[in-house]
């Protein structure tokens, strides 16, 4: 980079073209993805009022030359004074961790089996995994309501075959939320795992077997460690969005199912308390920054 001053003419035009090409998507993402967070931060420091928009201005241009800053930490203090919010964060964390583990176990079995399937089947099996990934989240969650509700298809089926006499109460419980999350996020877990397992050199397993390693031990000492990048990517893809999940707890969960995404939605749409909703978002974001950066690192490593 020391020879910057020596860029010859034709290259200079190439370089400025290069700059423009980088700038187009860069500026877009800066203005529509990153910049909005500044506004969230700003409004989280404002106070709610009955107005449109329903928050106070941060900078007050009175008569003086300099605007007076009216930042208020009230929203944040409120979050910590009302145990509801802390409970919601903790409950989201618990639900995210448990459902990530469940999704990993189920997703790994499926991804592993697809990767080991005869190659002529693999394409079609993979497409069967991808198909739900493209299908509307909302519709897939909705599909479970008809199955899980008290007079739903699951209870009907179980009672018909005589396994139970009284309908099970699953709908509007945490169990329904877990089922919904595992179901909805399964493809996000399977795809990176499959991509990783499919590339794995089979001769490594043969080498392990040749050296006297039993199949089960080979799985734990060779296959699993080698698929770690896929496991990480899959877990990030499930854990991070589930932390802020709204649709699933809203439609399948009950009144006692506390998740922070739902709290944010309620504060915003029902209570119209924009500053508190913003503060909820800022704290959630702060909790997720590290996992998101780890996810980015793992993806960049996978590409290069």
């Amino acid at each position: 980079m020391k020879n910057k001053q020596k860029i010859p003419g034709p290259f200079k035009s190439l370089l400025s073209g290069r700059f423009a090409v980088i700038a187009i998507p860069y500026v877009w993402l800066l203005s529509f993805f990153l910049l909005p967070f500044i506004f969230v931060l700003k409004i989280s420091l404002a106070e709610p009022i009955m107005a449109i928009p329903p928050y106070t201005a941060l900078l007050n241009w009175g008569d003086s030359w300099l605007p007076s800053i009216q930042a208020s930490l009230d929203s944040y203090l409120f979050l910590f004074s009302d145990s509801l919010y802390i409970k919601a964060y903790l409950s989201s964390l618990k639900i995210a961790i448990i459902s990530t583990i469940l999704t990993l176990i189920i997703g790994y079995s499926i991804a592993y089996s697809v990767a080991r399937a005869p190659s002529r089947w693999r394409g079609i099996l993979l497409m069967l995994v991808i198909l739900p990934f493209w299908t509307s989240f909302l519709i897939r969650v909705y599909a479970w309501i008809g199955i899980l509700k008290t007079e739903g298809l699951l209870n009907l089926a179980l009672m018909t075959i005589g396994l139970i006499d009284k309908p099970l109460i699953i709908m509007n419980t945490d169990l329904a939320v877990y089922i919904g999350i595992v179901y909805s996020y399964l493809p996000f877990m399977i795809l990176p795992l499959y991509a990783n397992l499919e590339k794995m050199d089979m001769s490594l397993l043969e080498a392990a077997a040749d050296l006297g390693c039993r199949p089960f031990k080979t799985f734990w000492t060779v296959t699993v460690p080698l698929s770690l990048p896929g496991i990480l990517a899959g877990c990030f893809l499930v854990f991070i969005p589930v932390m802020g999940e709204f649709v699933i707890p809203d439609l399948l969960g009950g009144s006692e199912t506390l998740m922070i995404g739902k709290v944010l939605w309620t504060e915003f749409f029902y209570n119209r308390d924009w500053p508190v909703a913003s503060a909820v978002a800022i704290i959630l974001l702060a909790l997720l920054v590290v996992p998101i950066m780890l996810y980015q690192r793992s993806q960049e490593k996978a590409i290069s």
């Binding site: 020879n3 010859p8 034709p10």
Partner: protein, 376 residues
């Protein structure tokens, strides 16, 4: 070939070089890929850049094509400084190692691609594409897509495409690397024929020393970003400039020792491998006591069970290994001090009379003019 060309323009000081690489340096960050390199290449040469991987030969080629910017120095083509010209404006074409055929275009369209960029009239493009297809004998494959071609055919399409614009200079990056041995040897000769027929200057990068020896007018041996020796194939083989070149090109036996002086036979070496002093005809500028090496090619070492009548340059040893190569055999002979030398003997007799076998005690001898004296 036109008669006006001298056979060896590099020996003629009045001849003007066609490509002048003047003190070119290329750095990637802190890593110096090419270090102040100077090289002249003459018109209609078939010049090979030869060296181990990572020696900078590909970087040099890519700088000629314009894909790498020069950190320092300049490159002239036919007297014109091209250092600042971007690749698409250089009158230079390249044949890529991966062939880089456009997968979505037919053979014909691939070859026509460069001509279309020059906005040549349709009829001329058509005629030149046909010419090229004929040259590489692929007329019947004009409508095929690259994925319907064999490796050898793809290679010829790549060659035709890069020659279609009649470039002043053609760069070839490991052009035969992806072909199997038999096809590679055949293609080497085709390349030479085409080069002579079209009178284009070729610069080729290869790591295959046999290939470089076969096709080149001159070879530039590179190592860590520098040219170690630039010479004809024969010179490189018979008169390498140092141990590394001698070792890189072909097989060689190196005898290490100390310079003892000059006598009527030639240069005298006190070698660790021999009890008596050994000789080479070549004279050197050194003083007694200097470290020195004799390089002797295996085929120049006579191997026999009988003691030679002449008692110069004799080493004794025992045959430890024999590599039978059909027309010749390579013998690994362990000397008394434990070192192993290689000797090659043509298998001229079918009888057992001259038969050498494992554990045979043998004599190795070379003519004084067969050894190359190396000072480094």
């Amino acid at each position: 070939m036109s008669e006006t060309l001298t056979a060896s323009p590099w020996l003629d000081s009045s001849e003007k070089p066609y490509i002048q690489i003047e003190n070119v340096t290329k750095k990637f960050g802190d890593f110096t890929a090419i270090d102040n390199l100077k090289l002249d290449i003459y018109k209609n040469e078939f010049f090979s850049l030869l060296g181990p991987s990572g020696c900078g030969k590909t970087t040099l080629l890519r700088m000629l094509a314009g894909f790498e910017k020069i950190t320092d120095g300049r490159i002239l083509l036919d007297g014109e400084d091209i250092s600042e010209i971007p690749p698409h404006l250089r009158p230079i074409n390249m044949m890529f190692q991966s062939y880089a055929l456009f997968p979505h275009m037919t053979v014909e369209k691939n070859i026509a691609f460069g001509l279309k960029q020059d906005n040549l009239p349709e009829s001329e493009i058509k005629q030149r594409v046909e010419e090229m297809l004929e040259l590489v004998e692929l007329t019947d494959f004009a409508k095929r897509k690259p994925n319907q071609l064999s490796g050898g055919q793809s290679q010829r399409v790549a060659l035709a495409r890069s020659l279609a614009k009649r470039p002043k200079l053609l760069l070839l990056d490991e052009p035969l690397g992806a072909l199997d041995k038999r096809l590679r040897e055949q293609t080497q000769f085709e390349l030479m024929d085409i080069q002579e027929k079209l009178e284009v200057t070729f610069v080729i990068v290869t790591h295959d020393q046999e290939e470089a020896m076969t096709v080149s007018s001159r070879i530039g041996v590179m190592d860590s970003g520098n040219l170690v020796q630039v010479a004809t194939p024969t010179e490189i083989y018979e008169a390498p400039i140092n141990k590394d070149v001698a070792d890189f090109i072909g097989d060689v036996n190196i005898l290490q020792g100390v310079y003892k002086g000059q006598n009527e036979v030639g240069t005298q070496l006190q070698s660790e491998d021999s009890n008596s002093i050994v000789f080479a005809t070549q004279e050197v500028d050194a003083s007694p006591g200097d470290k020195m090496w004799f390089a002797i090619r295996p085929e120049k070492l006579e191997i026999s069970k009988k003691k030679p009548s002449d008692d110069h340059n004799i080493l004794r040893g025992k045959i430890e290994d024999i590599a039978y190569g059909g027309s010749f055999s390579t013998y690994h002979v362990r000397l008394q001090n434990g070192r192993i030398l290689k000797a090659i003997r043509a298998n001229r007799e079918r009888t057992e009379e001259h038969h050498l076998t494992w554990e045979d005690e043998v004599y190795l001898q070379w003519a004084p003019h067969s050894a190359v004296v190396l000072l480094s």
